[in-house]
């Protein structure tokens, strides 16, 4: 239907990518963020190779609440589990939840925003009303009431697609409640894109609405989606940590938030066990900050107006 799309010459595209990377990597924040992120991603992909299988109360290797030592680099928790072991396994769970939730919210946000902006009229009005609701209500507050109810409906046993039900529910709920910002940005971008000549051209050639959206508008939205995606991940980590801290996580697949919740219940703060509550907190903070820094750097790189302001 649209075989005669003018393609970038391969060399031109390579040059564009190189230029983008040079600009993006010139941000100190982006460098720091990328280094931290790569580190945590490596840790998250092979927790068993690094620290062995997840410790439980049964196969715990240490004494109770021992401060960091040569044997336990980050000390132990209230049942003698190695905190380093818990935190490394937590990385995998926290990052999986945050990234999957972000994928869901980007898909929903882009679909809603693009449909709304492209079709306009009553579709736009109603979709934007729904978006406004999710924009106004903080994702955390929505997740706080929806998660326990959905858990009650589905039960907490068994697993869904390899996740414990509570984690699965948290992923879906965070994803379904944090897309409004993406939708707004995608919509405004679509509004300006659909007036461009190349869209008219595609329509004259006979492309369907769906074809135009997917093949012509979507590729042009990638910069905005990427920059906001990074910020959505940071938000998702924050929400996941808070929800799990309030006891909505799963102790059998502990994320960093669940570890903080366990530390709180064990009275780690008043026992002065700074290593126990410090380690998961620092991890969550570092990953979240990395995504914020990367998101800001992407935004600066793609958005010339912001770039003009140092």
């Amino acid at each position: 239907m649209t075989e005669n799309i003018v393609q970038y010459s391969p060399r031109g595209r390579a040059r564009a990518i190189k230029g983008f990377l040079r600009q993006f990597l010139s941000h100190g924040g982006a460098q720091v963020g990328l280094v931290c992120l790569v580190f945590f991603l490596i840790v998250a992909t092979m927790p068993n190779m690094l620290v062995g299988p997840l410790q439980t109360a049964i196969n715990a290797t240490g004494d109770f609440l021992v401060p960091p030592s040569g044997q336990h680099l980050l000390g132990t928790d209230e049942v003698g589990r190695d905190v380093l072991n818990l935190v490394v396994h937590g990385a995998r769970i926290s990052l999986t939840i945050a990234l999957l939730a972000t994928v869901i919210s980007l898909v929903v946000g882009t679909t809603v925003g693009m449909t709304s902006g492209y079709f306009g009229g009553w579709v736009d009005t109603w979709l934007m009303r729904i978006t406004d609701f999710f924009f106004v209500m903080p994702s955390f507050v929505l997740a706080l009431v929806i998660t326990p109810v959905v858990l009650e409906v589905m039960g907490r046993g068994g697993d869904i697609l390899g996740f414990r039900p509570s984690l699965f529910v948290i992923i879906v709920v965070i994803g379904m409640t944090s897309w409004s910002f993406v939708a707004r940005i995608v919509r405004s971008q679509t509004l300006s894109l659909k007036e461009r000549t190349f869209i008219d051209r595609a329509r004259v050639v006979g492309s369907s609405n769906f074809g135009i959206m997917v093949r012509h508008i979507l590729p042009n939205l990638v910069p905005q989606i990427a920059a906001n995606g990074a910020l959505v991940v940071a938000g998702a980590i924050y929400i996941e940590t808070s929800l799990s801290f309030l006891g909505l996580g799963d102790p059998l697949q502990p994320s960093w938030g669940t570890l903080l919740s366990l530390a709180q219940r064990a009275g780690a703060a008043s026992a002065g066990a700074w290593w126990y509550l410090g380690a998961p907190g620092v991890c969550a903070l570092t990953v979240s900050l990395s995504f914020v820094l990367i998101g800001n750097a992407l935004d600066d790189t793609f958005n010339p107006r912001r770039r003009a302001i140092p």
Binding site: D124, V149, V153, F245, G278, G281, I309
Partner: protein, 332 residues
């Protein structure tokens, strides 16, 4: 959006604001209604709870009729629900048997308002000023330090800050209490009650305020950075104004616009952050109530809290829109 109405700009603007507020409130109430009804088991058996074994089938049916649960979900039950909600009747708690949800919430509200209010004031004073200053001196050392620190604070869960504060100031140094709102034995109104309360308030307030400061610095700095590149700032400098005059007469007022909006809009996030902080400090507010309700699966209380948060966020949005209209003539 739907800008097809005919009429003066202002009334159109206000009309749109109010429509949006009403739509949001209706959606909050609808969500509440639906959530409560998709929980397995009907409300009657849920409410009778642990007594289920000793409740006969006849009693159950009688109770269902009594509560109107035998009538159709729509429109009867929806209308009843909305009517009761509008009259402040949020039902009864599961955990605190027989107690009205409204009473429970009202009882806990003052502690949260104290916590959030004081934290907001501190955060506005420190965060906005620091952010505006960083934006004014952008690219300098002050800016780099303030921006870096506030991005880090912004990415930190405030409840974790609270835990760290307890370890440092309560457990290690022993300066401030890290649990509850009163010392054991203290009664409201007794001598030394207020200093005791304030000492208990210090750490939770710091935790909430630090998180907010991070956010306000980021926004205030961005606003100021935008303002200083505007043409009227060039004009102001060309007129021969000093830096101080430029800052006070032109930059400050314009940069405050987005900041004021953010602070008003922020209410939902402030309360959300406060919920987890209260859980850390066993602060007797809405947050503590939320955690108790979550642990006991006390859905009526949870939904009451959701409704309260929803309503306050909607009101905050209304205020933000109105404030924006007052501050920025272009919107009118």
């Amino acid at each position: 959006m739907a800008s097809t109405q005919i009429g003066s700009g202002t009334s159109q603007h206000i009309g749109r604001i109010i429509t949006r507020a009403i739509v949001t409130l209706v959606m909050v109430a609808t969500l509440n209604f639906i959530l409560f009804r998709i929980i397995p088991g009907d409300p009657a058996s849920l409410l009778l709870g642990g007594a289920r074994s000793s409740v006969t089938a006849e009693q159950m049916v009688a109770q269902q009729q009594n509560w109107g649960l035998d009538r159709p979900l729509f429109p009867d039950q929806v209308v009843d629900y909305l009517w009761a909600t509008l009259h402040g009747d949020l039902g009864f708690s599961f955990k605190f048997r027989g107690r009205q949800v409204t009473d429970l919430i009202l009882e806990r509200l003052p502690a949260t308002i104290a916590l959030v209010g004081v934290a907001q004031l501190i955060a506005i004073a420190v965060g906005v000023m620091l952010g505006l200053y960083a934006g004014w001196r952008r690219g300098r050392a002050v800016d780099h330090i303030a921006t870096g620190a506030s991005l880090a604070l912004y990415s930190t869960p405030s409840f974790w800050l609270g835990m760290i504060l307890i370890v440092i100031f309560s457990t290690t140094l022993g300066w401030l209490p890290g649990y509850g709102a009163y010392s054991p034995g203290a009664t409201i109104g007794s001598l030394g009650w207020l200093p005791d309360y304030l000492r208990h308030l210090a750490l939770p307030v710091t935790a909430v305020a630090l998180g907010l400061i991070g956010q306000y610095v980021v926004v205030a700095r961005a606003a100021m950075s935008e303002v200083v590149t505007e043409d009227y700032m060039v004009t102001a400098r060309a007129k021969g104004l000093t830096n101080g005059q430029m800052l006070m007469r032109h930059a400050f007022r314009n940069a405050m616009l987005p900041v004021v909006t953010l602070i008003t809009l922020n209410l939902g996030y402030v309360v959300a952050g406060a919920i987890t902080v209260e859980a850390v400090f066993a602060w007797p507010g809405i947050g503590g109530l939320t955690v108790e309700a979550l642990n006991a699966r006390d859905y009526p209380v949870l939904q009451g809290i959701f409704l309260l948060l929803g309503a306050s966020i909607v009101v905050a949005n209304l205020l933000a829109d109105v404030a924006y209209g007052l501050l920025d003539p272009r919107v009118r």
